[in-house]
Subunit: 361 residues, 2 copies
């Protein structure tokens, strides 16, 4: 049975179970894994941020539980409908789809989007499926170019023949098929302007790769796409960010997962991703010391926090970087490489770093 049919079946079984319990005069119960920091762990074996085993019990016949119980079931019903008619909605649109009045009452199933969002997260955990598999989409942003040919919605799309724009990455990348891959690796970057720089220099053609950018934190669609290319096509993923605690956090989320989405790490995180962005050593090597952007208080405390994370604590290479950044007292942007030449990043920085395997793991 295809993954999609399995997901749908799990939702239907959930509904049947509840109906049967009610018919039998029992009190239906949902075991919902607890999504809180207390139930999140870093698993040193998988090198992923994962959920622990704590669950909370939610009963149907319980005035304190009933509202959330009904919301979760309503979200499941909408997901099942979306899968049946093969359509997708955004989180906001699902909120409206759920916002109806229960017949014979003046009670709406949801009043705020936080309620429908939580119901969707509960349902993801209950059905062991991601919201994308349930046909509910997150935000979209970002573009791709390079030596890959995909099939999507019946169209064959060659990422090397899309002009200056590239392929717009959709919010949901579950059903894309990879038809041909002449790329040897993927470069992910946090800034669209850097992507345009590399694209204009045809870096993907010269280095046989794929370039992908979002804006800031990668969208779920991009994270899933990178993870699928990494596991299905065996392509290494290199992450290109500024010399900046926030850029380094983007790397951290892509590689290890995040606390907020710990229950999705297995589908979204890329434990073998490498950091190819600016390091303290690069700042010296390429003479960028004068391009310093002084730390704000927020930057300083972010850097301290990062050094304390379980997934960085035992890592000597990162601890060295954190220390050197603290001593330097500032950040440096990748864009500062322009001071060395318009195409310096494409012609020198990237080829040199990749050839020398000059990345951090």
């Amino acid at each position: 049975m295809a993954e999609k049919e399995k997901t749908k079946k799990r939702l239907e079984e959930l509904g049947k179970m509840i109906l049967n319990e009610i018919k039998a005069g029992n009190n239906p119960l949902l075991d919902i894994p607890i999504r809180a920091l207390s139930n999140v762990i870093f698993n040193p074996k998988t090198r992923l941020i994962e959920m622990g085993g704590a669950e909370s019990k939610r009963y149907f016949f319980n005035v304190a539980h009933i509202r959330k119980f009904v919301q979760t079931i309503e979200a499941a019903a909408i997901a099942r409908e979306l899968m049946t008619v093969d359509k997708h909605l955004s989180l906001r649109q699902v909120f409206y789809a759920m916002r109806r009045t229960i017949p014979g009452t003046k009670i709406d199933i949801v009043d705020e989007q936080t309620e429908s969002n939580q119901a969707i997260e509960d349902m993801e955990l209950l059905s062991k499926s991601s919201r994308e598999q349930l046909h509910i989409n997150a935000n979209r942003n970002g573009a791709a170019a390079g030596k890959i040919v995909i099939k999507d919605k019946g169209d064959i799309i060659d990422w090397s023949k899309l002009g200056s724009g590239g392929w717009a990455i959709p919010s949901n990348t579950e059903e894309i098929e990879f038809k041909k891959a002449d790329a040897k690796f993927i470069i992910y970057m946090e800034k669209a302007a850097m992507w345009e720089r590399l694209h204009e220099d045809r870096v993907w053609d010269k280095l046989d790769c794929v370039i992908i950018a979002s804006q800031g934190q990668a969208t779920r669609g991009i994270r899933r796409l990178l993870q699928r290319m990494n596991t299905e096509l065996k392509l290494p993923v290199y992450i290109l960010t500024d010399f900046d605690p926030w850029g380094w956090y983007i790397y951290s989320v892509l590689k290890f997962g995040s606390i907020a989405l710990a229950y999705e790490s297995e589908r979204l995180a890329i434990p073998n991703a490498k950091f190819l962005g600016l390091t303290a050593d690069d700042v010296k090597k390429y003479g960028l010391e004068r391009q310093k952007i002084r730390f704000t208080e927020k930057d300083v405390s972010r850097l301290k926090q990062m050094a304390e994370y379980d997934w960085f604590k035992e890592n000597k290479d990162w601890q060295k970087q954190f220390k050197m950044m603290q001593e330097y007292g500032g950040k440096v942007e990748l864009d500062a490489l322009v001071t060395k030449g318009i195409s310096f990043v494409s012609e020198k920085y990237l080829p040199e770093k990749i050839k020398n395997k000059d990345w951090i793991d």
Copy 2:
């Protein structure tokens, strides 16, 4: 001579003029149009927000002027280099390219990006060219799909064959060629999630059109692309936003231009664009009254401001909408149409509005 060669020539003539003046012992002078609210007018004939004629004189041999003078010339030199090597940089990257120390001094040409941004704006006015024509790119965001075939960087790209993602719109859309257009109109929307809804429903196939989305305010690349399709392909542009003063402002900028970019209205604004988004009448007609999002104080004052703008003041249709919105006391999102059915917006709202020419001008 091609537009590009003309632009380059204007920059070179500017440089020669300054050199000649200095050699002749004169004090070189730049006449810079003033970019301030006091020098912006709404031209009722063109229906565009335009610059007035006020200029300020900037002298080379003047301690109060010299810094800005040099910055403007440095920006011109970089633009000329970019055009010569046929490469592009972002605003941020140009800031780094300009941030160099003047030999024999401790003075940097620019310290902050606001300085390089202003120098670029001055240069746009002096050279009568947009920053895109000068190979300096703004932000990018957004996607397109539909019945258009373009040529870009040597690639032929069919916007109807790009899967669920669509074509990622680059920051610079100056050099795109339109090869084939079976579309009858363009729908621009402010939200990527709505674009995904219409795209999944293949609205562009059913209604013979193009769909384009950004996120919030349209990027310059998208505005220029819409304007070019409107003038070169004679395609009407319909703008789809929420029932919301901020959504209506997005329409206003696309149609009339903006105060901040008044000097670019001729290249970016679309005076014949129509508003196809939610109106007060639609809220009643489609029974969306209960989907109200209450006004914040900011919303109320924005709405008042809008009603006072020259370009809305004399427009009875808009004044009626402003009044009805004020009485209703809230906003309604397009996504609320989901309460009427997953594809209601594609199957009923849009076809009906377009068939009945139920738009606001």
